[in-house]
Amino acid sequence: MNESLLIDIIIGISIASVPLIFAAIGELVVERSGVLNLGVEGMMIVGALLGFVVQFHTGSPFVAVLAALLGGMAIASIFAFLTQFLLTNQVATGLALTLFGLGFSAFVGRGYTEETIQLITSIHIPMLSDIPIIGPMLFSYNPLVYLAFFMVYLVWWFLFKTKQGLILRSIGDNHDAAHAIGHNVIRYRVMAILFGGAMAGIGGAFLSLVQVPIWGEDMTAGRGWIALGLVVFSSWQPFRVILGAIIFGGITILQLHAQGFDIRISAQYLSMLPYLATIIILVSLRMRAKNKTNRTMPNCLGRIFHSTT
């Protein structure tokens, strides 16, 4: 296996991990605040659709990404309203969101299946991009890739280095106590949910604006669900999301390469690897985490907050 193939594989993996990073880091914040939003897949596909459609009509990637971000937030707001104000069951509401998102995007997108758009191009940093090996591997991606890694850092900084982040985490661990202290539980959760929607939207847009310039129903292909797994895999620690996304994105890409190398396992079993790996990793984390308190899930995850005003 030669060097340029290795570089190509690494680049491929990095790109495959980006939509997962966006979606997972958004959901991580949501879950840290104590809310479980299963609607990630629905928000991602809406982002993919809006990104594609806006890019098609305006030719401006910036506007397209913005539209995807806002679109993700918009449908996340339905979830926020239902779960935080009407106190609906989070699992059911999240599933309804996924269903609605998939149907809505397919419906609106049906007029665009024959169109193509201009993809977002990679940047070229003078000098840095030209360094052999390191150049293409680190410095020649499109801006969204760098944004994804930056968002991870930003979320980490917010959650662990700011007062609001601390409050959010405390709400996730014990919403009754936080409420008693005087924090506005609902407000934090709504903000978190909207942030999650925005991130999922961008993650979806990455698929339609970078990976392949075609719109297809279900083009998210289950990545939203993988992202949910990644959040748990990461033990709700931001930087671990990157690790999980790379492993998962990696296995997906490697499975294709393995076929090219003629590894003698049938393709279906190879394709199972990412999903089995997620389960195995979840289990092994649990096995090792029994004594570490900061590695457990937010206590109030999924529980409905009943304010007693």
Binding site: L5, V212, L256, Q259, G260, S271
Partner: protein, 360 residues
């Protein structure tokens, strides 16, 4: 009443009667329906069938009413869709293998409706099957690939290990090898007919592994777009001309031209001459056609055209011995060509020289 008037009235009545009679015979247009597995926007397999349906409409005008249903999943629901169509149509085209059992079941319940099942093998009094000798197309693109490649690696994006796909791989490989003994083929199975993201990923993986020619047996234009973005990589349109997505990378495309076949079948229903048939046509009959040769030297393009004619005239058969199976056992003797059944229609082996493990 005068005699002249009586005569006029009689003539008029006779004329009206004749008109009424003939207009009754021609009044009802034939109702034809098409069941598609994907969106017509795939610009691949389903698009080609839809072009066929449009061709029928163009040539028959008001004599035909066409209904199309897209993205019908290949599961037990399809039986309901086909039944709904059978209640209102005279002939139904089910354009994917997975509709086979449902088509047969519905055909039993609606003996007066005609059914045409693409790429299947079950026949009945009111069920025909039809398919195309796509492997003739693969022969052409194989030879072009062999001549145009610089890395000597062909990347093949394959969908499902069914005979049709295996035929395509074998034919492409044999053709490429015949003009370029150093050629190697790398195959990636994506287990889907239509998934632009996966197809793009597969194309990228193949390119990373050294392929500079991409072939596909999947339905979207994704691989073509990847080839277009990558320096020095060429690809072929699948089922339709994908030149719009690959202006500098499409060498040619295999075009499934269903129009004339569809027209003849619908016309047969109208004329009352329809019978159950088993069609397996190719270049000679005009079912397999090609997008314009592009992005290659002129003499290569002419050579390709001549090869196409040679196949059409029967001088070349893509599977001509001596050919062995992948495990070395002999398949075709020198000069021998295989019968359609069972060799081609149930093909489940790679030919000698293909390195990959046969799936399962």
């Amino acid at each position: 009443m005068s005699n002249i008037r009586l005569t006029s009235i009689l003539k008029l009545s006779l004329l009206s009667a004749v008109l009424a009679f003939t207009s009754n015979v021609f009044a009802d247009p034939v109702k034809a329906a098409f069941v598609y597995i994907g969106p017509t926007g795939d610009h691949g397999w389903t698009f080609a069938h839809d072009q066929g349906a449009k061709y029928v409409k163009e040539h028959m005008g008001d004599d035909v009413v066409i209904t199309t249903v897209e993205s019908v999943a290949e599961n037990s629901d399809s039986e309901r869709t086909i039944t709904s169509l059978a209640r209102k149509n005279d002939i139904i085209f089910t354009t994917s293998f997975g509709y086979m059992n449902p088509t047969i079941k519905v055909a039993k319940r609606y003996p007066d409706v005609k059914f045409e099942h693409a790429t299947g093998y079950m026949l009945a009094d009111n069920v025909s099957v039809y398919s195309a000798r796509f492997y003739e197309g693969r022969h052409i693109i194989g030879k072009l690939a062999g001549k145009m490649t610089k890395s000597n690696v062909i990347g093949y994006i394959a969908s499902f290990p069914i005979p049709e796909v295996i035929r395509g791989i074998n034919a492409a490989y044999l053709a490429a090898k015949s003009v370029n003994p150093d050629i190697q083929i790398k195959i990636v199975w994506v287990y889907t007919w239509y998934d632009p993201g996966k197809e793009a990923d597969a194309a990228n993986a193949l390119i990373a592994q050294g392929a500079d020619i991409i072939m596909q047996h999947t339905d979207s234009t994704a691989a073509m777009t990847v080839a277009e973005e990558t320096e020095g990589v060429y690809a072929f349109g699948q089922a339709s001309d994908m030149g719009e997505w690959g202006p500098t990378s499409q060498l040619t495309g295999i075009i499934d031209d269903w129009g004339p076949y569809y027209l003849s079948r619908v016309q047969a229903v109208k004329d009352g001459t329809w019978t159950s048939t088993d069609t397996f046509d190719g270049i000679a009959e005009g079912m397999v056609e090609f997008a314009p040769m592009a992005n290659m030297p002129k003499d290569l393009a002419s050579w390709a055209e001549r090869t196409i004619n040679a196949i059409g005239n029967g001088y070349i058969h893509p599977f001509t011995g001596p050919i062995n199976k992948q495990d070395g056992s002999p398949w075709l003797a020198e000069g021998e060509t295989p019968p359609a059944y069972p060799d081609l229609l149930t093909m489940d082996f790679y030919v000698e020289g293909i390195d990959s493990k046969y799936p399962n």
